[in-house]
């Protein structure tokens, strides 16, 4: 029990260290700054929406929050470990009696924590603007933010995986963005699968099941649809196990990596 406590404490310390590190990261700070500015600008854009100003502020704000949190997770997630390898600062941690997987999990959790803090900050600002404009409380707003957090967790695990896999931060960023796009395009892929012959269909089916299904998590687009009757629990378990899966693959890669 004490051993477990020490191990958890080590992970927590690495997470907090990553969080502090991100607070000094320019990409992180600039993304928050532009996110906040863009959300404030939505007040000006709502005038263009005629009698639908609330809809404009709501959609614009939620899309902004998602876009900037995506930027943060992809840029920081792809660079985080590679930067430490290139600066050789990773040796300072790995020479200590800390397992490599604690280090990786701690880094991942610290990354998530910093992006989640920025999401909370931007959401609070967005909610203030919405309430000032007379918006009525809608639980779907919070559900869409919650699922955005899960989306970010999936992308974070993929960004770390690609950064260890590809050894170049640019290529890992491109791979992660590509997965982001494909993840939103799965319904179209599914539709295409029906029209293909057996062999290409087989390969496309494999691709279809490997890429994450972000349409499960895109609740921001489902506000007002009144058609949401799928089970949230299954989607949550799927998303968490997807994250664990790629985090595990990253740990495997990291453990076999030579510095």
């Amino acid at each position: 029990m004490t051993q477990l406590k020490i191990e958890m404490n080590q992970i927590l310390l690495i997470s907090l260290y990553t969080l502090k590190e991100n607070f000094r990261n320019r990409t992180y700070l600039v993304s928050i700054f532009f996110g906040v500015i863009t959300i404030i600008i939505s007040i000006l854009i709502d005038v263009l929406g005629g009698e639908q100003p609330l809809r404009i502020i709501l959609d614009f704000g939620l899309s902004t929050i998602e876009f900037f949190s995506l930027l943060m997770i992809v840029f920081i997630g792809s660079n985080m470990i590679l930067e430490e390898i290139n600066n050789k600062t990773i040796y300072l941690i790995l020479v200590r009696p800390i397992s490599r997987w604690y280090y990786l999990v701690g880094k991942y959790l610290g990354l998530l924590l910093s992006v989640y803090l920025s999401i909370i900050l931007m959401s609070i600002l967005h909610l203030i603007l919405l309430f000032l404009k007379g918006w009525k409380f809608d639980i779907l707003y919070f559900i869409s933010i919650f699922f955005l957090g899960i989306k970010i967790a999936i992308i974070g695990s993929l960004a770390i995986f690609f950064s260890l896999f590809s050894t170049s931060n640019i290529s890992s960023m491109i791979f992660t963005f590509f997965i982001w796009i494909l993840g939103h395009f799965v319904m179209e892929i599914k539709f295409l699968m029906k029209k293909l012959s057996l062999v290409p269909k087989f390969f496309l089916t494999i691709v279809y099941y490997i890429i994450p299904n972000f349409t499960f998590l895109n609740w921001r687009d489902y506000i007002g649809s009144a058609n949401i009757d799928f089970s949230v629990l299954y989607i949550f378990i799927y998303s968490v196990s997807y994250c664990i899966c790629f985090l595990f693959l990253s740990i495997l890669l990291f453990q076999h990596k030579e510095f």
Binding site: Q52, F60, E188, Y234, L252
Partner: protein, 242 residues
């Protein structure tokens, strides 16, 4: 460790499969679903690919308002003998042939945008005098199975009956329906203006005045000045009548 990884991979696939079975994707597939405005296809596809179709439909909505709110390029006005006539601009007169396509673009991106159906069908029917186009727009919404559970879905039927009454010249029945429509929370101010104008045409000045006062008090910048003019005009007409 490897056993655990295998277990996680298998459970991911299982829960993906179950989620897929439970998941009711609330949009139609865009492949094979023709987008009506070709010049915006790239933007529309980008919105879908990046999972921001509601945001893109908002952009499409703003583009529609800008199109319908600006004067048409070479609109010749016989009545006032000059080009770029802005007569009737406040209540959306003109031809605006692309209005139907621009609205179809919005509702194909976001079929749940009920307000867009109501706004454009009313504009096409009463302002632009093309009720067939207004009706086709509403029919697209009514036939959309995804939309049927929306709490505002019934309003599409309400507007449809009003348009049918207009097409069959059942004027008073149409007024009854429009009276129901203007009582709704999300009723476009334009529909209120249409009904107020119909009241005025049928010499029902008091009802028209009340509606224009309501429009004026809604503080809609597009209608405020026009509503003020109408209120003054109607007050004079009522005085004369008395």
């Amino acid at each position: 460790m490897k056993k655990f990884l295998i277990f996680v991979v298998i459970s991911t696939f299982i829960f993906r499969y179950i989620s897929e079975k439970k998941f009711n994707y609330p949009y139609y597939n865009m492949i094979g679903y023709k987008m009506p405005v070709e010049k915006y296809v790239l933007l529309d596809i980008t919105g879908i690919v990046f999972g921001i179709r509601k945001f893109v439909s908002d952009i499409a909505w703003i583009q529609l308002l800008q199109y319908y709110g600006s004067s048409e390029d070479t609109q010749e006005c016989n009545e006032h003998n000059h080009l770029h006539c802005e007569h009737g601009r406040n209540y959306g007169g003109g031809k605006y042939y692309d209005l139907l396509k621009l609205t179809q673009r919005i509702i194909r991106l976001d079929p749940y945008f009920i307000y867009a159906y109501l706004y454009s069908s009313a504009s096409l029917t009463w302002n632009l005098n093309r009720p067939e186009e207004g009706l086709s727009l509403l029919k697209e919404g009514i036939s959309n199975k995804l939309l049927q559970r929306n709490p505002e879905y019934w309003q599409l039927h309400l507007y449809t009956s009003a348009i049918i009454y207009k097409m069959t010249d059942k004027y008073y029945r149409m007024i009854d329906i429009l009276e129901k429509a203007v009582k709704q929370k999300n009723c476009p101010v334009m529909v209120k203006a249409i009904l107020a104008n119909i009241y005025k045409k049928t010499n029902n000045y008091i009802k028209s005045l009340n509606l224009w006062i309501e429009i004026y008090e809604s503080n809609n910048p597009d209608y405020r000045n026009y509503a003020e003019k109408q209120i003054n005009l109607l007050k004079e007409k009522i005085k004369l009548k008395l």
